[in-house]
């Protein structure tokens, strides 16, 4: 049993799923579902489709270069069965997987740090650009606040006078 990767979205193709397409030059393309097959026949490049793994990796959204990826490789020669070796391999797979997930999390964190700064920068730039649009509103709010303060002050003064007259 061999788990293949989809040509378009790079998800795993389990046995009995999807479809295989063989081009005239004998190159084999595997697709996980009809969505991927149709995009291929519409001659779209998976690098420019935002929902594919290829896009995310080529645009720096996900970790693309790492030593943990080099463990997974297609072997042409079949290894002779050895129970101990299988046990060891399964343990190693888990270890490598844990390391990879940790590194991926770190990568995401670092990316998000820059993203926050970037979003703040763009917000400030937008505010500077469009300050003229909201200026009248700000002035109106300021005037209202000032008027309110003046009314409150005059009321307080009246109260003080009344108290002085009473005494």
């Amino acid at each position: 049993m061999r788990l293949e990767k989809c040509y378009i979205c790079s998800s795993t193709v389990y046995p009995g799923h999807g479809i295989q397409f063989i081009r005239n030059d004998a190159k084999v393309f595997r697709f996980c579902r009809s969505k991927c097959r149709k995009t291929f026949h519409m001659k779209r490049n998976p690098r420019y489709l935002k929902w594919t793994k290829a896009y995310r990796k080529s645009h720096g959204k996900e970790m693309a270069v790492d030593s943990t990826f080099e463990f997974e490789r297609k072997r042409q020669r079949i290894e002779r069965y050895d129970r101990e070796l299988v046990g060891k391999t399964i343990q190693a797979i888990q270890k490598v997987d844990a390391v990879r997930t940790k590194r991926e999390k770190e990568y995401y964190k670092n990316r998000m740090k820059q993203a926050k700064k970037q979003s703040q920068k763009t917000a400030v730039r937008e505010l500077e650009k469009g300050i003229s649009l909201i200026e009248p509103d700000i002035l109106r709010v300021n005037q209202a606040v000032k008027a309110k303060d003046a009314v409150q002050q005059s009321v307080a003064m009246l109260d003080e006078d009344r108290q002085a007259n009473d005494s």
Binding site: P15, F21, I22
Partner: protein, 109 residues
């Protein structure tokens, strides 16, 4: 799904480039698929042929589907020997089985 009047690409060097299906051999059926023997006409002559590849996907015993982007035929004589001595293009493993097509000295890609 090769039926009568389907035009197929000839995948060997026997001469004609295309051939038109005019009959399906074997048990009576409407459509021929990969590995079936058919009767074709090409350049005014009648040949027998074996369907080498088919545009409609075929299910394999393990549940996977395989599809190829052309309808192709290999021309043979009435005894089942290939007419040409060279076969181009993709051949499925089913066609290469000796009971379907004995390629013998014919070169494949």
């Amino acid at each position: 799904m090769i039926q009568i009047r389907t035009v197929l690409k000839v995948l060997d060097n026997s001469g004609p480039k295309t051939a038109r299906c005019i009959g399906i051999l074997g048990p009576p059926k409407k459509f021929a698929t990969v590995g079936d023997k058919i009767v074709v006409t090409a350049e005014g002559k009648v040949y027998h042929g074996i369907v080498a590849c088919c545009k409609v996907e075929k299910k394999r015993p393990d549940g996977s589907f395989v599809r190829i982007d052309q309808n192709g035929v290999i021309l043979v004589d009435s005894s089942g020997k290939p007419v040409g001595n060279r076969v181009f293009g993709v051949l499925s493993s089913r066609v290469k089985q000796p009971e379907i097509l004995s390629l013998g000295r014919v070169k494949t890609m």
